[in-house]
């Protein structure tokens, strides 16, 4: 079973993209389940996603990569045993760290007979608000970009050329290895490409040694 993460700061268009990509994958014959981890115990996204006829589960009470990793693993195991999706798409809250989420997802292998495969980690960047975000919540945005395999510059229909180029330069500086795609959730530009990425490509499983080395290089820790 494949697990795909769609990360990004609040308002970057995660939920809209997640719904459209899920519908595209359903059309391609996949059985899709969605897990959302909103802030606090009152969740708004799961209701919205379900209004599109998609299968959604909400997890609340903390961050799914650490604090409630057990609940996350259990939810994956229960979905596997009952709904039997071949792809689970996760919309983490703004604080989840992708490698932590990979590790938490793999805990589900201890609960049921499932093998987790990871799709490339996707992070959305809102091109129209890039300067504002880098001023206010730089560290959070940088981390989400650093941990991504693919960074989507979203809202290109509304952004200026200058904003798009600024976003691209910033992403390359933070994560030179990331693949960059221009998308527009509103106009569904790039939708099929994102579905292809989730459908056909994989990202490595959690490896503590690799992640520690990454941390040391990126944050100067250790």
């Amino acid at each position: 079973m494949k697990l795909a993460q769609i990360a990004g700061f609040l308002g970057s268009g995660k939920t809209t993209l997640l719904i459209d990509v899920s519908r595209e994958l359903v059309l391609r014959g996949h059985r899709i389940a969605i897990i959302v981890n909103d802030v606090g115990e009152i969740n708004v996204d799961a209701k919205f996603i379900e209004s599109y006829g998609l299968k959604a589960r909400e997890i609340s009470g903390g961050c799914i990569c650490c604090q409630i990793a057990g609940s996350f693993a259990n939810t994956i195991a229960v979905l596997h045993n009952t709904f039997k999706p071949d792809i689970i798409i996760v919309e983490p809250s703004g604080v989840a760290i992708p490698w932590g989420l990979k590790r938490a997802a793999e805990y589900s292998e201890e609960e049921t007979d499932v093998i987790i495969e990871h799709a490339p980690v996707i992070t959305l960047v809102d091109a129209t608000r890039i300067e504002l975000l880098m001023d206010a919540v730089r560290r959070l945005v940088e981390t989400q970009i650093r941990e991504a395999d693919v960074v989507l510059i979203n809202k290109v229909d509304a952004a200026t050329e200058e904003q798009i180029e600024k976003s691209r330069t910033m992403i390359k500086k933070i994560n030179p290895n990331a693949e960059i795609l221009l998308v527009s959730g509103r106009n569904q530009v790039g939708l099929k490409e994102v579905a292809d990425i989730i459908e056909t490509r994989v990202s490595p499983r959690y490896d503590e040694a690799v992640e520690k080395e990454l941390l040391r290089k990126q944050y100067g820790a250790g």
Binding site: L10, A136, E211, L215, R216
Partner: protein, 154 residues
């Protein structure tokens, strides 16, 4: 794992620079909602919340969104950028309804949860009055720093 924990704590704290408030409410309209009236209510509510939060010191919207569940369908509203305005997605069918459930989520940068709660409650009160509605808060939530508690050394 100490380095990981420190990084994780820092990220949670970065996220907790965002003030958060969520509420689940029951709304009653004695004159009945039409789809257009529900949309106007949603637009006014989200803009009023943004205005009150900025008045109290917020400098960036994370997101302000609400989901209305009515007998005739659903309505989602989202405000991220005031220049762009409220984005609405509706499945409301033609026809009137008196009762609806509204879930509201507010995350802004620059003020803490208690201020977001107070600003949001002021905005709700104002918009409810303007639209002649009756409202009951069924459940609400705000918890500054609760999400990083598990990382703090006792």
């Amino acid at each position: 794992m100490e380095d990981d924990d420190e990084l994780h704590l820092e990220l949670h704290r970065a996220a907790d620079e965002l003030g958060k408030y969520a509420a689940k409410m029951h709304v009653h309209d004695p004159q009945s909602f039409t789809p257009d009236k529900a949309k106007r209510f949603m637009d006014n509510l989200l803009n009023a919340v943004a205005k009150e939060c900025f008045k109290d010191g917020a400098d960036l919207i994370g997101h302000i969104k609400a989901f209305v569940t009515a007998p005739t369908g659903t309505l989602m509203g989202s405000l991220v950028d005031q220049k762009v305005g409220v984005q609405l997605t509706s499945t409301l069918e033609n026809g009137k309804f008196e009762e609806a459930e509204v879930t509201l989520h507010v995350i802004v940068h620059g003020i803490w949860d208690d201020k977001v709660r107070d600003a949001t409650r002021r905005a709700i009160k104002k918009v409810i009055k303007e639209h002649d509605l009756e409202l009951e808060v069924l459940k609400d939530h705000f918890d500054t720093e609760k999400s990083i508690e598990h990382h703090l050394k006792k």
